[in-house]
């Protein structure tokens, strides 16, 4: 699972946003806003980490229970998948 080519992350005035460029911009015209945790998840996914690895990193960084981290990361990845941001 990886983020499709063309989605770029931009930090603007304290807010992290993702916009589509290149081919991706032909099908996605919106803006994705990320909170700090979501930004980390996005970056770790960009680095090639899988769902379990990301959940473990969230656990370590944000001091949340493992089950909660797994549920939150899973929910975000499903949302990204549904929106068409992910490729196999």
């Amino acid at each position: 699972m990886r983020i499709k080519n063309g989605f770029v992350l931009r930090d603007v005035a304290g807010q992290t946003m993702v916009v589509a460029t290149g081919e991706a911009s032909k099908s996605f015209h919106g803006i994705i806003k990320l909170n700090p945790t979501a930004k980390d998840v996005w970056l770790w996914l960009s680095e090639g980490k899988n769902e379990d690895e990301i959940a473990a990193l969230v656990c370590g960084k944000y001091d949340v229970a493992e089950e909660q981290a797994k549920a939150d990361v899973g929910a975000m990845l499903r949302k990204m998948e549904e929106a068409g941001f992910l490729a196999d």
Binding site: V8, Q15, M17, H29, I31, K33, A38, M80
Partner: protein, 151 residues
């Protein structure tokens, strides 16, 4: 994660800023088609922009991001860096935002940088020559087409 598909006006009004990818070649070489991203900030009511600012304005249903070349009492003359003809007297009301910064690929570009200021001055200075060249090229193309069409 929040996915927003609100209109540009709604986002500018709510957040004060809008980030997007530019489409087209009218601001080339500064902005490349679907490759570079821009940050637009909203303009406050009554705010006047300066010469060489790059406003986002609406023409019909289309959003245009071009450069101001002349400030008028109630509007602006505006032209794309890669365009041949200016759009005259774009009213203040049509302007919904102004370029604040941009990314060329993954490199963030400041409008206050020396390189950007130099680019703007050079583009404007070279503009009459570029326009003349483009018009000549288009004229020659038409002439060749007409000559070939006669055969």
């Amino acid at each position: 994660m929040q996915i927003s598909d609100s209109s540009i006006e709604e986002i500018l009004q709510k957040d004060g800023r809008y980030v997007c990818t530019t489409i087209g070649y009218s601001m080339y070489p500064m902005l490349r088609d679907r490759r570079d991203t821009v940050v637009i900030r909203s303009v406050s009511k009554g705010e006047r922009l300066k010469k060489y600012d790059v406003p986002l304005y609406k023409r019909g249903d289309r959003y245009i991001l071009h450069r101001i070349i002349k400030v008028l009492p109630h509007g602006y003359d505006i032209i794309g860096d890669n365009c041949v003809s200016a759009e005259k007297n774009i009213s203040d009301e049509a302007v919904i935002g102004v370029l604040e910064e941009y990314w060329r690929g993954n490199r963030k570009k400041s409008l206050d940088s020396l390189s950007y200021k130099l680019y703007v001055r050079m583009m404007r200075a070279a503009s009459p020559f570029r326009i003349a060249y483009k018009k000549l090229k288009a004229g020659l193309k038409r002439l060749v087409k007409r000559l070939i069409g006669r055969k």
